[in-house]
């Protein structure tokens, strides 16, 4: 890790994570927007940054992009302390709304932003990134006339002009219709497939679940969970729940109440669909339950794993056991 100044765009310190945040705190007056937040984004990750509105996501991203100065803590991009524009070589992205010049055409926006980068020879041409995000046909139009989805895509095009290795996307599907969301997600998958490390913030769990391999959850400026997507989701879900459908609910209930099975029935008789039983299994999962039912001669029509309600899960993570949690 040489301390010598590296020319912009020089290969980053090899092996260092794309982003390391250590103990980041940002106060605005007496308001603590982010408190002692640490996270690590490894190269190649599609890293989900999840939290409700006002949880400090955007402030964290602003600190990463050099727009706000941390009150304390450290941010490293590819191993280099983030300070000044030259340390952001290889980093691109946007925070909150796309922030484009509404009175300029899409092409002029890109020309202007390209001029604000000291571009290397062989940087991606403007027409190329317009093509990538599917805006070639509308490149002459003023951004003012663009839909929200087109603006989001143009913001991504602007980021791609920097040939980033690390792309920061803050709520890229915010305000989009389903087709717009699908386009953006397809684009994120494609970029990730091309080897970009992507840091994606969202308040939509389903989006994070579809796109990300690792995830951090923040609430009120604090990190409440971080890790692989599955671990974090499973950790938050607790024991898996199931829906059982049978023609003989009474016998089934009796079989399930057997001590030692550890199953727990969550709905009263007659509550829900006819013949429906909602249950939480014991620590060993569904196997012992099925065996017990079959042994009791209960015909099982279906035993369906219950997806923990994503919203429930989210609320549990961000409010339930979180430090400083409670009503707002």
């Amino acid at each position: 890790m040489s301390a010598a100044p590296e020319p912009e765009g020089a290969p980053a310190t090899s092996g260092a994570p794309a982003l390391e945040v250590r103990g980041l705190t940002k106060r605005f007056g007496s308001f603590v927007a982010v408190e002692n937040l640490s996270l690590t984004v490894n190269r190649g990750d599609v890293y989900g940054f999840l939290g409700p509105n006002g949880s400090g996501k955007s402030t964290t991203i602003r600190a990463v992009l050099g727009l706000v100065r941390p009150t304390s803590g450290e941010i490293r991009l590819f191993g280099r302390p983030a300070a000044g524009p030259q340390t952001r070589a290889g980093v691109a992205g946007s925070v909150e709304a796309p922030g484009l010049y509404e009175y300029l055409s899409a092409r002029d926006n890109l020309r202007l932003l390209a001029a604000a980068d000291r571009r290397k020879k062989g940087s991606p041409p403007i027409e190329g990134v317009l093509e990538t995000v599917g805006l070639t046909g509308r490149a002459k139009d003023k951004v003012r006339a663009y839909s929200q989805g087109m603006k989001q895509r143009l913001a991504i095009a602007a980021a791609l002009l920097r040939e980033p290795e690390f792309l920061v996307l803050d709520e890229p599907t915010n305000g989009l219709d389903p087709a717009g969301m699908r386009d953006i997600r397809a684009l994120v998958r494609r970029l990730s497939g091309e080897g970009l490390t992507i840091f994606l913030s969202s308040h939509l769990l389903s989006e994070i679940e579809q796109l990300c391999n690792r995830v951090a959850v923040v609430s009120r400026g604090r990190l409440v969970a971080e890790g692989g997507l599955r671990e974090v989701l499973e950790g938050a879900k607790g024991r898996p729940g199931y829906r059982l459908l049978t023609d003989d609910p009474e016998a089934a209930r009796r079989a399930l109440m057997a001590p030692g099975l550890g199953a727990e029935i969550r709905n009263a008789d007659g509550e829900g669909e006819p013949g429906e039983i909602r249950l939480t299994t014991g620590p060993e999962g569904a196997g012992p339950v099925v065996r017990a039912l079959v042994e009791a001669g209960v015909e099982v029509r279906a035993l369906v794993p219950e997806r923990a309600g994503l919203e429930d899960l989210f609320l549990r993570l961000t409010e339930g056991g979180s430090p400083g949690g409670g009503g707002e």
Partner: protein, 267 residues
């Protein structure tokens, strides 16, 4: 260099053309008024007015004297006050600062573009006045205050120099409006703030409240060019005005720069 692109942005905004257009329009309106009065029956009865109105060179001189009181300062702060605030409200400041350009580089590019706009306002204002005066009335030697007529070429040189001397305090005002733009991050507040500064300073000096500070008020510098019309030219107040304007500009720019490079960008 980013100056080019800052100018490019200005040239794509209506605000810029509102400023330049007004600078072009006012001399024309004045000329039209002069033409209407000049054609009236009383024209011959007032020799001073007749002589004044019978010379196209008077148009830029009179408009410059009037324009430097409120119009030119207003047109200057209109764009200077928006320079940073407009990018904050448009959400583009965070975008441009996410590129490789540093904050200092961006700031000085903006300052330069605002300066070029200010010079353009003065240039258009005086240029249109000259052109209109020449085409509609024609140039002839101007009766000097000392009595001897001043040749056309010399008057033209004095007008250009006078425009330059008005431009200096305007540039200082632009710098102050840029400081307001950086500090308030609000375009309207910056424009209004710049105008209020001008009106306030004019009030202070017209009520004689300035005392010893009077010569250092920014508004006083807008009339320094009138000393060019004396015979002989009184250079001392002109030189003083250059320094005072430079001091206002320098302090404002440095303060604006210091705030701009440190400030958190939250829009």
């Amino acid at each position: 260099m980013m100056v080019r692109w800052e100018v490019f942005k200005l040239l794509r905004q209506r605000r810029t053309f509102l400023g330049l257009g007004s600078a072009a329009l006012v001399p024309l309106v004045f000329l039209a008024a002069v033409e209407i009065i000049g054609g009236g029956p009383e024209a011959g009865e007032a020799p001073f007015a007749a002589q004044l109105l019978g010379n196209g060179l008077v148009i830029p001189l009179v408009t410059l004297a009037f324009g430097s009181v409120v119009l030119l300062p207003l047109l200057t702060v209109l764009v200077a006050g928006d320079a940073v605030a407009g990018e904050v409200s448009g959400g583009t400041l965070k975008t441009i600062l996410g590129r490789s350009v540093g904050r200092s580089g961006l700031f000085w590019s903006k300052a330069a573009a605002v300066g070029l706009y200010t010079l353009a306002v003065v240039g258009v204002f005086v240029g249109v006045g000259l052109a209109a005066g020449w085409l509609a009335i024609g140039f002839r030697p101007l009766a000097g205050l000392g009595g001897a007529p001043i040749p056309v070429g010399q008057v033209l040189a004095l007008i250009v120099l006078g425009a330059g001397l008005v431009a200096l305090p305007l540039l200082a005002l632009a710098a102050f409006a840029l400081l307001l733009s950086v500090a308030t991050q609000n375009s309207v507040a910056s424009v209004v703030g710049g105008v209020v500064l001008i009106l306030l300073l004019q009030l202070v000096s017209s009520l004689g409240l300035g005392g010893v500070l009077d010569p250092y008020l920014l508004t006083e510098q807008f009339s320094a060019w009138l000393n060019l019309m004396r015979e002989p030219i009184d250079w001392a107040p002109i030189v003083a005005s250059v320094w005072v304007s430079a001091a206002w500009a320098g302090v404002s720019l440095l303060a604006a720069w210091a705030v701009f490079v440190r400030r958190d960008v939250l829009s």
